[in-house]
Symmetry: C2
Subunit: 428 residues, 2 copies
Amino acid sequence: MIADLDPSREPRVSFKVIEGGVTAAHGYRAGAISCGIKNPDVKRLDLMLIVSDTPTVTDAVFTTNKVRAACVRVSQQHIRDGDIRAIIANSGNANACTGPQGIQDAKAMCKATAEALGIRMRQVQVCSTGIIGMTMPIQRITPRVGELAAALSETGSEDASRAIMTSDTKPKSYAIEVPCGEGSFRIGGIAKGAGMICPNMATMLCFITTDAKIAQDELKRAVRCAVDQSFNCITIDGDTSTNDTVIVMSNGQADAPEIKKGSEEAQTFRRALHKVMLELAKMIVSDGERVTKFVEIRVRNARTQADAKKAAEAVAKSMLVKCSWHGSDPNWGRVIHAVGYSGARLREELIDIYFGGLIACKGGLTTNTPMTELEKVVKEPRFSVTIDLNQGSANHTVYTSDLSEEYVDFNASEYSAAVHARRQKGLA
Amino acid sequence: MIADLDPSREPRVSFKVIEGGVTAAHGYRAGAISCGIKNPDVKRLDLMLIVSDTPTVTDAVFTTNKVRAACVRVSQQHIRDGDIRAIIANSGNANACTGPQGIQDAKAMCKATAEALGIRMRQVQVCSTGIIGMTMPIQRITPRVGELAAALSETGSEDASRAIMTSDTKPKSYAIEVPCGEGSFRIGGIAKGAGMICPNMATMLCFITTDAKIAQDELKRAVRCAVDQSFNCITIDGDTSTNDTVIVMSNGQADAPEIKKGSEEAQTFRRALHKVMLELAKMIVSDGERVTKFVEIRVRNARTQADAKKAAEAVAKSMLVKCSWHGSDPNWGRVIHAVGYSGARLREELIDIYFGGLIACKGGLTTNTPMTELEKVVKEPRFSVTIDLNQGSANHTVYTSDLSEEYVDFNASEYSAAVHARRQKGLA
């Protein structure tokens, strides 16, 4: 089962790509409005709502960061009761490191949503993304939730996907229809990334809806498996931000048979969910802050899966390696260096390194492949680096990016800028 | 004992700073010549030699990287026999990932040194730093070792320190004289750093000489202890390059009494060695590639030493935190975020964060300290960030730097540039 979900291979499942993102599956509506959360003078969508009109089975994966945003704490409480009907999310403020006031604000967002939709407050999940350590401008949010509910529609996914963007340059959305039994089911989602695709990245949010009919425990297994093979292949080391959240709602409205544990349908569902998450994860990497290269790091033939993962992540995290990619420099020396300190078991004299299909290092030594040919590969906006340890049969793939001067510049003054802007406006 | 060497405090030992680096202690000579190792057309010191004219007790700490340079392998073999008399080191080529030819070249450097000095080959340590994966231009090195031996002098330390520089902008040297018993001993050293001060940094080399009289096992304990509290506080995570090496030679020529295990003198020696390594380590951070800020990260009151270390290193490694320092942005949100994913046990609501002496975050929440005051601290070229976890009594300090656009630019094309340069010259 795990082998089938090896991220080094695309999940094998028949599907059709469809439009509609988080409203592609039957029975969901979404919408967004502009509240001026970050800056009251700037009109941009920054508050979104996703609703299931019928009961759901919902599972979520939250940040493992010990500093958890107020919204994460509230959502974790709410999901215990099950039958989640709505997700409300804002950009412009992370509601993290905001103390008891933050908890109160997150609850106020749930309460307003529940009132607008005629559901219970504990049926609402709440997410926030943006700057850390500043109180939510809740007076600009809760009074608008009725209007937000009125904006819900079966074509509202794109608005919703835009409302969670922070430094993302484009909305991220993906949906598929999957034949299953005599019928089919749909899975679709929206996501936001930004920040360097790296341990200390900014918030990652992903909301997925499906009309498949599935029991709680089977959904949970599928979600853990898919997250592990998608978002955890980009958010290296399992380090997550204060706000990272993946929520998957299923409402059973599809005509496909129920997804039962151990069945062929369960296999299909897992692969389909993996596919959707993998596509969204790749979009996040491609759209990382000031990223100019998308790089697939494939470690092959490690002794164990853990070794393969360590090696791939060490390369993906290395600032020196990322700089060399940015400069289109096929620097295999830095790659082998990172593999060497990764903790993976290896023998230097067995290591082969490829840029694209070209071998740059054979048995730990340089090859005769012309530098100009290797440079051609690394000059491309998308390429792969394959590290063959020739030690065993375990593989692991990580998706990552280069490191640009623009990234440094972009991240050099977020805080002062935000605080000064707020002070100038006389805001708290 | 360990508590006494807490890196959060300077080692408590009486000493006088003296000139002379690696030739400050009695009985050592050093020298350097220019061999054009990286580029035959460029005249710069790139081959150095340090010699003790009398028998030594020597200890060394080598990289833990599983990809080890040929010179490291050879030095590791040689040190087993004891009585090291000479260290030969070059810049311009790392002799890493060079296979059997690399081993042969490293041995040839030892052999030439032994012949020039009339000692055994196994009494020579050999070190290299520079680009990885290219064969050593050994024909430009070994024939010159006689000339190098002729250049040895009791004032040759500065030349030696210059010859191991790569992207370092200045030589690094430090020496002290320490009263001990009725007499005194001297300890001095030279070092080279460069690369980002970070897990995946470039090679760090440090050569230390002392005239203290000390037994092998006591020297070994002192070296491990001092490295752990100095270089391991800058080379985060214990990740080291393919070539990292610290060598400490002692020749017993001082008039101080013998350093005996458990004695007061042993305590004094350990602290003195720690002091020398700490000063050299700080010089390495300050002179990191394109570094504009030197930052001391102090974690206070963690539950355990391991927790304190995890928290400090997570902050020091965070690209987002480093970018904010570069922009003089007192972004405590990013700091607490990194502490949160560090794995250290903590309670968010107990965390206080200071920039310099100013509190930016109290109990996990923002404070009223004016942003303009915090900015003043972060604008300085040297400042401290203190993270008080208020959980226990363990402290740890890490020395690190910012991340600049210039760093990215500087590291973007080393490889292609070097290869093209070599090809143009018709070199291998």
